[in-house]
């Protein structure tokens, strides 16, 4: 019964604190604004950078963590290489002997311009064992048609973006696609080639370094014929188990020394996650600084409020309010500032994070962006933890900020307080 009475009493004290807060509307609103902005900035920055991280991660994760890409050391970004070491069938045979390796798919990769109904589109042409496509890219499906059989040099698999260009005529299934292929093994010559669109891929987006949607896949034999060289642009190595990836990578790097570069999507993912993690912490701390400034604002407001209400505190003491009741009243005021500020901050932060999405666009997000060219708006990520944090943290800060002023109020000498003008 007594306990219930105490609960009731604290509720009444809380109501009194609310009235005091409402009584000084402008000042309370300004203090709350400080908290709102601080908390909104933290929320928006963290949600956007988490969104950025999630966007990049999803791009990279499309390439299975059990896939390693082998390229010669000089030819990391461009097709063809001036490096003396060239990857050939011997390397494919060797790679297959490494324990844990289940398959090795050599590929050729060139730049090309596709002529489609008079419009020219920039694309990549990749020649490889086309049956390996679903193995390399998780969730990649054929929207129309079927994957050509091995050795079918006249058929091609068309990426969704090539088949459905932003401007120009769409490419239909079984339509003839003519292309001008450039940059074959360092040569400046352009080779024209025509294939039939045997399959059109579903919309997929970017996976690691390749934009699947803007790629035309042809058979390995056709690509080799075009390149007129037995040396590949690279080799995809499939490892049976993700736990073995590191061992296989070590084995390859040891064997080839600096002659080849091994790219592991898992490794890239972890280093990018570490970068975006640091970015999140960095951006979050910018928000934290603004929230800290807002907290100092609360200390100031509460302190001034206690000074202004010295006489009122004297009255409360005279009519029998205990020190802890007075302390609770002032702490409630501070906490309430945090509650309202946190809630408004959540709403403002939500809106702000979508605006910030634009700021980060081009770095990552919805399929395009990051390594894959193009650019899109990133989708902010609001985790439950982030939402709870952005509601609770301002309350904690505000309450801590109110501690000293509230303590001072509770310790005031009643006689002196009552004389205060």
């Amino acid at each position: 019964m007594r306990r219930r009475q105490e609960h009731m009493q604290f509720l009444d004290l809380f109501k009194l604190a609310y009235k005091a807060l409402v009584d000084r509307k402008v000042r309370s609103a300004l203090t709350i604004l400080g908290i709102t902005v601080g908390s909104a900035i933290i929320l928006a920055l963290i949600a956007s950078s988490s969104g950025l991280s999630a966007g990049i991660t999803s791009n990279i994760e499309k390439t299975g963590a059990n896939v390693l890409t082998i390229r010669n050391a000089g030819g990391f970004f461009q097709s063809g290489s001036t490096n003396t070491y060239q990857l050939s069938q011997l390397d494919v045979d060797y790679l297959k002997t490494i324990p844990g390796v289940t398959a090795a798919y050599p590929y050729y990769s060139y730049g090309a311009s596709i002529n489609s109904g008079g419009t020219s589109l920039q694309a990549s042409v990749v020649g490889m064992d086309l049956s390996a496509l679903p193995v390399l890219y998780k969730g990649l499906t054929v929207a129309e048609g079927y994957l050509p059989l091995a050795g079918d040099v006249t058929s091609a698999v068309i990426g969704w973006g090539i088949a459905n260009p932003v401007s120009g005529t769409p490419i239909d299934l079984h339509q003839m696609v003519s292309m001008s292929v450039t940059g074959i093994k360092g040569s400046k010559a352009t080779v024209s080639y025509a294939v039939l669109a045997n399959a059109i891929l579903s919309q997929y987006g970017t996976a690691l370094f390749s934009n699947i949607d803007d790629t035309v896949y042809i058979s390995f034999q056709a690509a080799q014929f075009l390149a007129k060289t037995p040396y590949f642009s690279g080799i995809y190595v499939i490892v049976d188990n993700t736990d073995d990836v590191a061992n296989v990578q070590n084995a390859i790097e040891t064997y080839y020394s600096d002659n080849v570069r091994v790219i592991s999507s898992g490794q890239i993912l972890s280093s990018i996650q570490s970068i975006t993690g640091q970015l999140t912490v960095f951006l979050g701390s910018i928000g934290a600084v603004s929230l800290f400034v807002a907290t100092v604002g609360i200390v100031n407001t509460m302190y001034v409020s206690v000074m202004e209400r010295t006489r009122e505190i004297g009255i409360l003491k005279a009519i029998g309010y205990r020190p802890r009741q007075i302390m609770f009243m002032f702490l409630s005021e501070a906490a309430l500032t945090g509650v309202i500020g946190g809630f408004c901050g959540l709403l403002l932060g939500y809106v702000l994070s979508f605006l910030m999405g634009g700021m980060f666009s081009g770095l990552g997000g919805e399929g395009r962006g990051f390594f894959g060219g193009g650019g899109g708006t990133i989708q902010p990520v609001f985790s439950t933890e982030l939402i709870i944090f952005s509601l609770v943290f301002p309350v904690i800060l505000a309450t801590v900020a109110g501690l000293y002023p509230a303590w001072r109020a509770s310790r005031m000498n009643a006689v002196v307080a009552l004389k205060y003008e």
Partner: protein, 247 residues
């Protein structure tokens, strides 16, 4: 029998109370040894020139300030034995204060101001409201229950303050120059109010005043000078008090 026992405990008793203020190395004795008893139901005034120690005595009796030496006993309770929390509870349950400056909380309505001491005591809202309304009715301000102090005249504000002091049914109401800010007509009405409270509820009232007209309407005048009781003057025979003090 019970009534006799209850009456035997004075509402206020001070035993050789002194209060010395220290500023740096200087000492200023405000009270130099005050011993007095105020019976339950008594209406007493304290008079004296400025600096005679009236307000200091009121602060000691009001449990707001401890004496330098001596004892203050309120309704049989020795204040020296109480800590800060218990002193607060004692002020809440046994004492009511009325000040010259009214000391109402401006953002609250008359009703809310009156209910303030009941919140500190943890009385539920419904009960609080009923008690506050009936106390406001007793001081004739029921129709102003939802007005804020700024909307009320000085006399009305002071009556709200009396209602706030009265709502906890205290053993003693302490009034420090309650009419200091009021004109003579309102002063007279307010003194009527105090007399009515004293007679109707049997509440013990201790009032500090400069105004001899007010003092003359109380039952006893204690005159202070230089921190000592100069004289005491009984205006009515003590056994003529109403027995309503025993509740």
């Amino acid at each position: 029998m019970i009534a006799v026992q209850a009456r035997s405990v004075p509402a206020v008793e001070t035993i050789d109370v002194t209060k010395t203020y220290r500023v740096g190395h200087m000492s200023y004795p405000a009270l130099k040894g005050i011993s007095m008893k105020i019976a339950k139901g008594e209406f007493v005034s304290i008079m004296g020139p400025s600096g005679s120690g009236k307000s200091t005595l009121l602060n000691l009796v009001g449990a707001l300030d401890p004496p330098t030496s001596g004892k203050v006993i309120i309704d049989g309770i020795d204040l020296r034995k109480l800590n800060e929390d218990k002193l607060s509870i004692l002020r809440n349950r046994k004492l009511g204060f009325v000040y010259q400056a009214f000391n109402l909380i401006q953002r609250l309505t008359a009703l809310e101001n009156v209910a303030m001491p009941l919140i500190a005591r943890g009385i539920p809202e419904k009960n609080r409201r009923d008690r506050s309304l009936s106390t406001l009715k007793a001081v004739g301000l029921l129709r102003f229950a939802n007005k804020r102090p700024i909307e009320l005249s000085g006399g009305e504000q002071q009556r709200v303050a009396i209602a706030r002091a009265l709502v906890t049914n205290p053993a003693l109401i302490i009034a420090d120059e309650p009419t200091g800010n009021l004109d003579s007509k309102t002063t007279s009405e307010l003194v009527d109010q105090f007399v009515q409270v004293n007679e109707q509820f049997g509440t013990t009232i201790l009032v500090v005043t400069h105004n001899s007209e007010i003092a003359e309407r109380t039952q006893r005048i204690i005159s202070l000078r230089d921190g000592l009781i100069e004289k005491e003057q009984y205006l009515k025979r003590i056994d003529s008090y109403p027995n309503k003090a025993i509740k």
